[in-house]
């Protein structure tokens, strides 16, 4: 099949970007979206042009590396699917696909379709864990956890951190990502001791990173490759409200966001 790919090309953050259209005449419907870009890149390389930079790694939908907008939808039209598992048979012969990077102030552009998502790592740094050091643990079965709770925690923990929720949100909010971690740990008994503090700190970090606020629109849930439930948003709000109320100090300090790549910045 024939396709036109209109792709955002931008050399680096400082450079000016633009859309460039490429025609592909021999697209196999069995290819994944990323393999389609591989073919394009092979052609470009052979012509001595710079290939399109796009992030990818496992190519089986679990690492969370890949992702871009395909004609206005994060990860493309197929629900619960990352671009690496999206096969081209879901498009029609002659289609024009517009490929754009995730657009968010908190995801500064690196190159072409690649953005910098270290802001998500910093949200996890701000309490997205159980503070237990290696060795200091009781027997695995010492703490029974009902199947229902374990399953719900697993539903929330399935997040792959791809950033599609932020990209799709009209507000540019990272609430689904943050809420998923708060819900995962907040549901489990292991997560209780730090539940209040965790929610307060992670939300503060999310705000400090410059993500937008959640107004419960619901686009995030629709594009989430792991179909994280909007329930996690409510849990985050509740834990945050309770946590803020109980908080005993006036201020919550956030980690300062870093966007550079210099030796002292990484």
């Amino acid at each position: 099949m024939k396709l036109t790919l209109t792709i955002w090309r931008q050399r680096d953050r400082a450079a000016k970007g633009r859309f460039v259209s490429y025609r592909l005449d021999d697209v196999n419907p069995e290819m994944s979206m990323l393999e389609c870009l591989d073919v394009l890149n092979e052609n470009l390389s052979e012509r001595g042009e710079e290939p399109v930079a796009f992030e990818h790694d496992c190519r089986e939908g679990i690492c969370g590396s890949c992702g871009f907008m395909i004609s206005g939808i994060a990860h493309g039209p197929l629900p619960a699917t990352t671009v690496c598992q999206l096969t081209m048979r879901h498009f029609k012969d002659g289609d024009e696909l517009v490929l754009e990077p995730w657009r968010s102030k908190s995801f500064p552009l690196v190159k072409d379709l690649i953005v910098d998502r270290r802001s998500l790592d910093r949200i996890v740094q701000a309490g997205g864990y159980v503070s237990v050091s290696t060795g200091n643990t009781p027997d695995g079965n010492a703490l029974p956890i009902g199947k229902d709770i374990a399953d719900r925690a697993m539903d929330a923990a399935a997040c792959i951190g791809c950033g599609a929720c932020v990209a799709a949100c009209p507000n540019g909010s990272a609430a689904l990502f943050t809420g998923a971690k708060i819900a995962h740990l907040g549901l489990l008994p292991q997560g209780q001791p730090e539940r209040d503090e965790r929610a307060v700190r992670m939300v503060a970090q999310m705000n400090a990173e410059g993500f937008g606020g959640c107004t419960n629109i619901g686009e995030c849930v629709a594009v989430c490759p792991k179909q994280i439930s909007p329930e996690v948003l409510a849990r985050m709000n509740l834990d945050y409200l309770v946590g803020s109320w109980k908080h005993r100090h006036g201020t919550v300090t956030a980690i300062s966001p870093i966007i550079g790549w210099g030796p002292d910045e990484t």
Partner: protein, 203 residues
């Protein structure tokens, strides 16, 4: 935002119940108007609470809007919505329009500064309403604004629960449906008045 929204929602419901007395005739509505006026300080307390809520609601919304606007400094060339209601995406539009309407509405029916079509008569609520709505564009403006208020409530009612941390796979769908119905009933209730006036059922 959820809390102030909830208080304002209560006002919207109370105001509607009061207004619907128009169908019971002039004396009933005017008596209700007098009752409110006779509340004295209490009325001013209620008004103050409402004004504070409105201001807070606007302030938080503006704050959020600025933040959200800044969160995406470079926009998409193409962006499609796939799972959200029109109401949810347009809260920033329906809100200010409803606000503009409320100001007009207060000037027209409470203060009487603007009262096209006839002379504003202090105390004769029934007359003011009926005369006001006979002007077609006043009614049209009212109907459009109330419909937008409906949209605002359709998202706002269930969203407030979500913001306060209440979500349940079994109950939230019921809540969403409920929000749609409540918003719908409120719109129908309010716009029944100008429509009745225009059709001459209430004169």
């Amino acid at each position: 935002m959820a809390v102030t929204g909830a208080i304002l929602f209560l006002f919207v419901v109370g105001h509607l119940l009061g207004n619907l007395q128009i169908f019971d005739g002039a004396s009933r509505l005017n008596a209700y108007g007098r009752l409110l006026h006779n509340l004295g300080e209490l009325l001013w307390i209620v008004r103050a609470v409402l004004v504070v809520c409105v201001l807070l609601h606007i302030a938080t919304a503006a704050q959020l809007a600025v933040r959200n606007w800044q969160a995406r400094s470079v926009g998409y060339r193409r962006k499609r919505s796939i799972n959200s209601t029109y109401a949810a995406r347009t809260m920033y539009w329906s809100g200010p329009i409803v606000m503009a309407f409320v100001i007009f509405h207060l000037l027209e029916f409470t203060a009487g500064y603007i009262h096209p079509g006839s002379r504003f008569t202090e105390g004769d609520v029934y007359h003011n309403v009926v005369a006001g709505f006979r002007v077609w564009w006043v009614s049209a403006w009212y109907i459009v604004s109330i419909t937008l208020l409906g949209f605002h409530l359709r998202h706002g009612i269930w969203s407030a629960f979500q913001s306060l941390g209440i979500n349940h796979p079994r109950h939230t769908p019921v809540l969403k449906l409920g929000a749609l119905w409540i918003a719908g009933l409120i719109v129908v209730g309010y716009i029944s008045i100008p429509i009745s006036v225009l059709l001459g059922w209430v004169r």
